[in-house]
């Protein structure tokens, strides 16, 4: 998810390759229709869609996300307005309101934070503007405040990372967590899932160190450097995004460790991290797929035509391990 990176331009621009695919939203999932939401049918082709991005497009995840939406809009010939919150929540709120004022008929929002959307939701509601949120949820009532959420389940990502970690370490030893930025939902949920699963499944694994690396490679490296000085026997590091994981690799290299001495599991699926698996430094990468474009427009299209759409579209994220890393390197963003 957040600040992730690759040293090559994302191979998969927009809708091509690796587009997110919905999974497990079978009959049991709740749905939403235009009638239930309120509002008029319209032809997506003539509509204006507003897209509010939360952070600068300066990391692979955000780049791929924005590119995917833009490409899909272009493919469908839809007018897309964009705005960027520059990691400032107040700005993102104003951004969305500006998009509404500029005449967006539909909104796609990649929220910086799950809470605090009330003003936007009321404005949109007053104008019956359907909202689709991508990658992070907006806390509100589905099919009333917004139409659907398309994205990953961060808690689940944490659990899957824990599974990988248990496998890699054999279920015994001491672990460190490199947390994301404090106060961020993603951080909270990825930590929650990870800790839960470790507690359930591997009582032999102990989390002895949790410090924030603020989703950045530099911080991840600095914190890991301190960690391996004070706890030289650490067995595994769970980094809540690829960047911090790569920082940890740098630190381990600097301290003269060999690949595999310390097991590293990260979340995101950027190309550099997957390369890290190939090189033997990283033991597992849980993917968080940013290519929401096709799914988002598909959902909006169906919805505006009056069809039923699911409220929660949880993306099936893949994972990279030693077995598939080399083969799937091209799939990474």
């Amino acid at each position: 998810e957040d600040d992730a990176a690759a040293d090559k331009k994302p191979a998969a621009q927009g809708g091509s390759g690796g587009a997110a695919a919905a999974s497990g939203t079978g009959a049991g999932g709740r749905t939403c229709t235009l009638d239930a939401f309120g509002g008029k049918k319209l032809d997506l082709k003539n509509a204006t869609v507003g897209f509010s991005q939360s952070e600068k497009e300066a990391n692979p995840f955000r780049i791929a996300e924005t590119a995917s939406l833009k490409a899909e809009a272009e493919k469908r010939g839809i007018k897309l307005l964009t705005a960027n919150g520059q990691s400032q929540f107040s700005k993102q709120i104003s951004d969305v309101q500006d998009l509404i004022a500029k005449g967006a008929d539909l909104l796609v929002i990649a929220p910086l934070n799950s809470d605090g959307w009330q003003p936007v939701l009321s404005s949109a509601r007053a104008r019956h503007i359907p909202i689709v949120t991508v990658d992070r949820k907006i806390n509100g009532t589905a099919c009333k405040d917004y139409v659907s959420f398309i994205g990953s389940d961060f808690v689940e990502q944490g659990r899957r990372a824990a599974d990988r970690m248990i496998e890699a370490t054999g279920g015994k030893g001491e672990l460190a967590i490199l947390l994301g930025a404090a106060g961020n939902n993603v951080t909270t949920e990825r930590t929650k899932g990870f800790e839960q699963r470790i507690e359930e499944k591997a009582p032999g694994l102990k989390v002895v160190f949790q410090q924030t690396g603020e989703f950045s490679r530099e911080k991840g490296q600095s914190v890991t450097e301190q960690l391996i000085q004070s706890k030289p026997g650490i067995d595994g590091i769970y980094a809540e995004n690829d960047e911090m994981g790569l920082g940890a690799v740098n630190a381990l290299k600097g301290a003269g460790k060999q690949p595999g001495d310390v097991k590293i599991v990260t979340v995101d699926g950027t190309r550099s991290a997957v390369q890290g698996i190939v090189d033997g430094w990283i033991d597992g990468v849980i993917e968080s797929n940013p290519r929401f474009g096709p799914l988002a427009f598909q959902t909006l299209d169906a919805f505006t035509k009056g069809q039923k759409v699911p409220q929660d579209i949880v993306i099936k994220d893949s994972a990279y391990t030693k077995d598939n890393a080399k083969a799937d390197l091209a799939k990474a963003y």
């Binding site: 497009e57 990391n59 603020e214 989703f215 530099e218 000085q229 004070s230």
Partner: protein, 320 residues
Amino acid sequence: MTQLTLGRVTADRDRLRRLLQDYGVYLGVAVLLLVNVAFTPHFLSAENFRTQAVQVAPVLIVALGMALAIGTEGVDLSVGSVMALATSLVSLYLGYGPWIALLVAVAGGLVVGLANGSLIAFVGVQPIVATLALMVAGRGLALVLLPQLKQVHDPGMAALGSGAVLGVPYLVLIAAGLALLTAFVVRRTTFGRQLLALGDSRPAARLAGLPVRRVLILVYAASGAFAAVAGVLATARLTASDPTSLGTLMELSAITAVVVGGTPLSGGRVRIGGTVAGAVLIQLLTATLIKHDLPPSWTQIAQAVVIVLAVYAARERGKR
């Protein structure tokens, strides 16, 4: 009789206070070292000290330039963005070899510094605002040049980041060298004296015919160049250029190091030794908190308390 002893006691207390004022930072560093030696496992190892020194090096280099700016009663908020700009430039020009890349990056820092200096010296914009403008624009520019993180594969850069001479990392040597150079400039050169004079009283310096503008421009140029050097070194250490997050909040860390080191924000005085100690103090504090795995809320509050204590000890006494 009582009066006499009383007098002596106050005199002694006075001296103690002045000692504390001048050497409080060093004392703080010593205390933190002792605390760590006593309570932190594996603290007393060469490797650990190397880690701390390497981590503090970029902050220190930025703080040196900042100390000069603060000495003229100014401040340079653009340093973090200059680091980002430098890292972008390094990546862009690495194709021409590491030396060219390094030169271009430092030149970039110099240009930003000159722009800051010109705004301040010629237009008369207040330093905090002038450098704020370049802080915002600088990072934008860095991202325009290099839109996202880029791995640095150059072996020269990698060596710069992790190499060492006689066990002392290059980063540390460079930082120490720049600190000595700065201390020398402040103490021994005309430029240093003029800098202090104009920091203390601008009108007096002007009427005494000092080249006020030239000194100001040079100071900000130096600050920009130092920040760029720090940016290059950070890039080398990270073996990647990350213009998004490199150097964020660096201006605050650097200012803290300078001020905790006993250089007053009101100008007219620059303490390089104190600045080094100030940077080390903050580094040790962070390290201690991380090593003991304290939550971020603690870290922030502890930093706040230490900053206030350090500055309180070093404060200029009132006239009364």
